[in-house]
């Protein structure tokens, strides 16, 4: 859930549909021939779960199978931002900078990163990218040089470092792949008959290329943003942090989604307390008994899904939103 108070003008816009409709009508009637212009500031917004973590429970954004999750690094490459009028490519304007930011350090929720001056007033479509990181990207102060260099070298879009905890937590890696070494099973098995091992805390660290172009974006069926003459408006490219734990790939309403983490705990094949990209790559979805009928993967932006690293990459490609909970079409073809 995005803290709406962080974006007061936007919050007013969202909460007052009459105002939203009025603005649509106003923009639709247009002021043809007008050369009036306004400005736009674009914020990078971090979903609050990236900063505050997710907690176990049965409500809303809780992790529903008992795990708490926190992130110590959630580094993302975001930008350029593109605006067009009515989808007309000839009207496109771009803020071309790519910024690499640790979203887990965005305690204020937002960071102003892109700006557009002298835009023709009226409605603009809003699009932005989460590209792979290159050396020309801007490293935010929240990102260490070491991490930035690693992202450039590997061509990653995201570098995520988190911890999942559960007092009675267990890891039950697929028996055919597990290399438990000296670890002693608890004596319990999961639904797939795999031995379980005590694991009250499990780290996960992985980088991934997940280049995606998001847009055109909309919020509450209202597309893009409205530029008003003589004024500076604000828009936000929002990165969600809980999709890694989604049980599907929703396009639109995320209300029917459950957040589950046991599958990730079961990916610690060597039971060293850390799930890595190599381990995720070694596991096919069907080898995890947790990936059962609760998971509906038919909308994956990557197909076929052959392993759990690809599954996470696919989820990363869905994390871009607009103005908090607004939706963006996504296009990975160019990446």
């Amino acid at each position: 859930m995005i803290n709406q108070q962080k974006l007061l003008p936007l919050a007013l816009f969202h909460r007052n549909r009459s105002l939203a409709v009025a603005l649509v009508v106003a923009s639709g009637t247009g002021c043809s021939g007008s050369t009036a212009t306004g400005d736009l500031d674009v914020l990078l917004e971090s979903e609050d779960v990236i900063v505050e973590g997710l907690v176990a429970g049965s409500e809303g954004e809780n992790i529903q199978d008992g795990w708490d999750v926190s992130f110590s690094r959630y580094i993302a490459a975001v930008g350029p931002v593109h605006l067009t009028q009515g989808g007309d490519a000839s009207t496109e304007v771009e803020a071309e900078e790519t910024h690499v930011v640790d979203l887990s350090k965005l305690t204020a929720g937002t960071l102003s990163l892109w700006s557009f001056a002298d835009l023709e007033e009226g409605r603009w479509d809003f699009n932005y990218e989460t590209p792979v990181t290159t050396s020309s990207a801007n490293r935010d102060a929240s990102v260490s040089e070491e991490d930035f260099d690693a992202m450039v070298a590997a061509g990653w879009t995201y570098l995520i470092d988190g911890t999942m905890t559960r007092a009675d937590g267990v890891s039950c890696p697929p028996a055919a792949l597990a290399t438990p070494g000296d670890a002693t099973p608890t004596g319990e098995t999961n639904a797939g008959g795999d031995d379980c091992y005590t694991a009250p805390s499990i780290n996960f660290v992985f980088g991934a290329a997940a280049g995606t172009e998001f847009g055109p974006c909309e919020i509450d069926e209202v597309p893009g943003i409205v530029v008003v003459s003589g004024d500076t408006k604000t828009a936000a490219a929002t990165i969600h942090g809980d999709h890694l734990f989604f049980n599907g790939f929703p396009e639109g309403n995320e209300g029917g989604i459950s957040r589950l983490a046991q599958w990730l705990a079961d990916c610690d094949l060597n039971l060293d307390g850390t799930v890595t990209a190599d381990e995720l790559t070694a596991i096919a979805p069907e080898q995890l008994s947790e990936i059962d009928e609760r998971f509906q993967l038919g909308g994956s932006p990557i197909s076929p899904l052959t392993n759990m690293y690809e599954y996470l990459r696919a989820q990363m490609k869905t994390q871009g939103h607009f103005q908090g909970e607004g939706e963006c079409a996504l296009d990975v073809e160019a990446h």
Binding site: F249, E286, Q287, G299, L305, V332
Partner: protein, 312 residues
Amino acid sequence: MSSRRRCVYTLGTTRLARDLRRVAKGSSLVWFGLMLAGCLDTGQARVQVPLSVAGTELVGDVVTKGDVPLTVERADLAFGPLVLCPGNTAGELCETARLEWLDAVVVDTLDVTPRQVGLLEGVTGQVRSWMYDLGITSQLTEESPVPLPAAEDLGDASFVLEARTSVAGQEVPVRAFVAVQQTEDTELGVPVIRKSASELFDRDVQEGEAGLRVTFDPSPWIARLDLRPLLDPGSCAPGGPPTVCDGPLNQECAEDGTVVVAVDCSVEGQVCVQGRGCVDALILDSSTSGYDALRLALLAGERPVFSWSPAP
């Protein structure tokens, strides 16, 4: 056929259903009213596009995990409804279906002969994404997904597999009945399979469009099966399971790992399956990883090939 009026006429699967849900939530009567009033002159024409389906001939056995060969005798798929959308992203972001076929049929995915199964109905214009169900549709007006007649013909399943393999020289029948559907844990009201953003699909549909063919190849789905945990020979061991199959022998084990008694399943024409003992066939029901493998393969595995204007 031709009409210069375009209305939001899509029923059930996309916009109307979605907006009905919003109305139910009391969130947007204004938008709903605008939508109902939204019959616009757009210059689009109504069209009907022939839809055909085809399978793929399997050459030899399908090799499943662990190099276990499987001779596939039946691979029937319930396919439909199918919706084509103007945007690159289907699902809830499919604002208005461009073309849709609301029926479902059983496709023999081993039969290469194209078969026309109906007409996609809608309007001319660009289509860039698709979404479909596998015979079991989720409607927002229903509490549970509804099997269409095609799925009913398969025993309320989306996919039926019948095949054979062999263990220690004995033929083992393998059967699976897999249902693919939305649940309360997922996205009710949305077709289960949607074009990935990474897949290319782009067509400017005009009047006289010759047709769309959807061709299925079941072999990569079936290849994801791992039958070894159920069929590989085992032996009694201290602290091990109480019964273990060793080829056709169903062995009852003592706690110290010795064999108490062994029954040859083949005497009665049966096969021995780990955890089940002597059975007529290996049934991949929903308790097995094989069932999950097929379900996941149907959902997120290799996609069918969509081809326009197929040659007659």
